[in-house]
Symmetry: C2
Subunit: 276 residues, 2 copies
């Protein structure tokens, strides 16, 4: 008998994986959490029915949310991650040779626990000497920190449930204030094919706070449409220019991908109001 | 009541679209053909259960299979398309200002008919004065033509059913011989995430015939993993360099996408044996 786990990526589009085992299913104080074993992608973490990460393709998202800002900032010593409780983005941060400290602020301790229990290749980051794990509301945390971080990464779920406030202009202003005078923010900003209004909201919100705003793309097969966007806000440094050392070895990111990721298809340029 | 059409992109991965209507379902002499109306992507053409094209994302595949070779060849006057019976690649070819003649050789007349009946934005190409439509076996056709074409595009299905021979070294040698002395071949070569062995077969086969071989990528949300590869074989001209005029306007392709598409993630470089 085949068991299938289906994410409805939109109300009209289902993404179904053959599954051999359900490792965890629970209601946390913040969301529904599940970990299943899929034949196609290995272990898969879902929150509120949406695929967050899998063994087989986690490298794309985690490398690409972290490495672009880390490598375009000349001296990314202190890095803050909001969300990202699986630890994957933190893994890339603490591996970076210039980083002294990676602080991860996750609201839901059960996400961290699921990662510790089932995703050792992600959760390994929590025990790194450079890492600090804080279970707290990222919105509140960031308001209490000013002029402190070189890079901030926002590794959120979609703008539903606990993540809604992470897509607001007020939050981006708080990020701006928590960054040092040459700091850089990178956030996941959904699919250009399915979520153009989210991209416009994020790009517009960050543009209103930061002098430099830019969008880049990566290919995540378990995310809706397979094409994912990230938006960078920078106070000083052009995020398209590489200035610091790379982690090695990586599976997706390299120097030419860093630059190529900012080259947008015409329909994506149109979403953010750029000339085609 | 919701009706759903599911493509099993792999034996362990289903891609399901909510569907309001089945416009056609038939067994042609070569394959199973269906046209359905989906809520997410508009009308969708399926062959042997695999999504071939949809109203909403056809632009990516058709622009990207055609424009890279057309724009890197300095004088693409005579172009041959093998397969591509929906007419989408032919549309891009005959719109190109340097093209005098676009010949399409499709084995299955019922694919052409389905396009004429349901995809007018693709089938419009058949009535272009530059276009010639031939219903014939592409393998046989290409063996009978030598030193004739500037560019050949192979717009095939997956290497199952009638398309198997379109992935063979003998076929690439026939393409080489059908091209003029500075000609260029571009073929669809499947997903780097799911079909690495197909990419190796295509890249290896083309490399054995052509002095220049290169791989480039594009994002097609209705194809497995959303990331799709194309392989170019060239007798003389570097396919990464733009030499002739572009079609305008386009929805995906632009000059920076042309160059960026050749920048490969490390795991894709490894598939084709390039240093990372």
């Amino acid at each position: 008998m085949d068991l299938w786990v289906t994410e409805y990526q939109t109300p009209a589009l289902g993404f179904s994986c053959k599954s051999s085992e359900t490792l965890r299913i629970e209601k946390t104080p913040f969301q529904d959490l599940a970990v299943v074993v899929t034949e196609q992608f290995g272990k898969m973490l879902l929150l509120d029915g949406m695929v967050m990460t899998t063994d087989c393709d986690e490298f794309v998202y985690h490398e690409m949310i972290a490495m672009v800002a880390l490598n375009s900032h000349p001296d990314p010593r202190k890095v803050l991650i909001i969300g990202g409780g699986d630890g994957g983005a933190l893994r890339e941060v603490v591996r970076h040779p210039k980083v002294d400290k990676g602080v991860l602020v996750e609201i839901d301790a059960r996400v961290v626990q699921a990662s510790r229990d089932f995703f050792p290749q992600l959760a390994c980051s929590f025990s790194d000497p450079k890492a600090e794990l804080i279970i707290a509301d990222g919105i509140k945390y960031i308001k209490e920190h000013k002029n402190e971080f070189d890079v901030i990464l926002v590794d959120s779920t979609e703008p539903v449930g606990p993540a809604v406030a992470l897509f607001s202009p007020e939050f981006y202003q708080s990020c701006f204030e928590a960054l040092k005078e040459d700091g850089m923010l990178a956030v996941q900003s959904e699919s250009p094919f399915f979520n153009s209004e989210v991209i416009q909201m994020v790009y517009g919100g960050i543009s209103r706070c930061f002098p430099l705003t830019d969008l880049y793309l990566a290919n995540v097969p378990t995310y809706p449409s397979g094409l994912w966007s990230f938006t960078v806000g920078s106070k000083k440094f052009d995020p398209q220019t590489i200035r610091s050392l790379s982690n090695q070895p990586l599976k997706y990111y390299n120097e030419s991908i860093h630059k190529a990721a900012f080259n947008l298809p015409n329909f994506v340029k149109e979403i953010i109001g750029l000339d085609v």
